[in-house]
Amino acid sequence: MKNKKTLANEEIKHLAKLSALDLTDEEIEKYGDQLSETLDYVENLNELKTATVKEAHSVTESKDVFFEDGAENKRSLKEEIVFRNSKKTKNSQFVVDRILKS
């Protein structure tokens, strides 16, 4: 008998929404299975005791990396380049279907 899936279809739908992805019902079912299996596998992390361990945000020990305010801008993009890869522009701006506010 198959165990209850770790990720139910409802959760997959919610995740898709949070990730701004459109999924078909078939995809929801299929992904749910595979993602659940993946989540089951990573449970092995609980074999390691980490109560007193501090999270590693990075593998480097760097700190305080900055740039100086007012430094020369060598990466400024010219107008043709800014819009070269965009589909719809108007008055030097990018166009989106109207966003409804309230």
Binding site: L18, A20, H57, S58, T60, S62, K63, D64, V65, F66, F67, E68, D69, G70, A71, E72, N73, K74, R75, S76, L77, E79, V82, F83, K90, N91, S92, Q93, F94, V95, V96, D97, R98, I99, L100, K101, S102
Partner: protein, 436 residues
Amino acid sequence: MIDMKDYVPVIGLEIHVELSTKSKMFCQCSADFFGKRPNSLVCPVCLGLPGALPVPNKKAVEWTVKIGKALNCKINPESKFDRKHYFYPDLPKGYQISQYDEPIAVGGFLEANKKKFRIHRVHLEEDTGKLTHEGKDSLVDFNRSGVPLVEIVTEPDFTNSEDVVAFLKELHTIIKEYLQVSDANMDQGSMRLEPNISIKKVDDKNLPNYKVEVKNINSFNFVKRAIEFELKRQLELLQKGETPIQETRGFNEKKGITVPQRTKEGAEDYRYFPEPDIPPLSFTQKYVEEVEIPELPAQKTKRYEKNYNLREHDAFILTRDGKMATYFEKVMEEIRDKAKGQKVANLIINKKIDSTASVKELTEKLKDQSEGRKTDLGSLESAIVAVLEGHPKEIKEYQSGKENIIMFFVGQVMREMKGQANPQVVKQELEKKLKK
């Protein structure tokens, strides 16, 4: 002020301040975007192009520490940036680089209207692009994307709109005039305010179980109106036995009301996690101590009252404007007469002299003012003669030794002259005549 009956407002503020650094927060594009051609101040970083990476602006971090210090906060020895995720066309990366659980500054306070209002935290983040609407389309300009933004969050310590306005004005003065880290212009959006407003019963020790956030307030005037409207609206609901909905509302300045904005189902899940592209920040005690902040308006005001004997009201006005205050002190330094403090203050405040005038010009005006107009010696002569003729008894008293009766004569002559005389000069001329 509304009659809150047996309720009391619970108001907290979230203020965003755009820093006036030269460069943006994570790239070298110019941060001076106001009025520039759309999408002319962009690079792969602030446009969110594939492969671009952020590197933090040193000055923006320093200035955030300054703001934290000015607000009496504790500067965290360790801090970091985090990613805050949501989708919106003006957010090019699909996340905003902000700070979540390790902000730069925490736990401070600021006084206004003689009350202390606590600051919960001060953190640093990047601004978004600008979205405008035209017919069926929405247009996006990324010039503002990546400009450094400081967010200041207060505790819900405010109970009325007057205090809120006083607090905001004090904060504005500190940030714009004293620290000079931002234009803090509410009209242009370099200072933005979102009050969180709710109401509880006077004897309730807990915070209310809802709060309403109000957006789109663009001036100090509107702050008061928005809060007042909201308090009235919430009070009415509560009195009916209803709990106001927890929501975000927008202030409509034309109608002076707040209206609901599109509600999202459930709270937004920003999925914060530490920004892997930026190493953490560390602030040693030495560093924090060395970050200079000038004498702040509250201290300066008290000092003026004490050292120059100014009325509180006048000291307050002088300290609202950095240039004015500096000029005042420069003048006082040169004339070295603390007693003249109030008079100098008056001149400056009443705009009888401006801060570009030299000290000499000011002392001249001072003399003119305290010594009145140039005295017409001809009319003075007549006035003195008239007064002396009318007061033979008092002349005898003066001549018999009661010298301070001269002030009586001065007063009489001043009346004759309808005040258009210099009392010193009057006294001198009287003495000349009386001693004959």
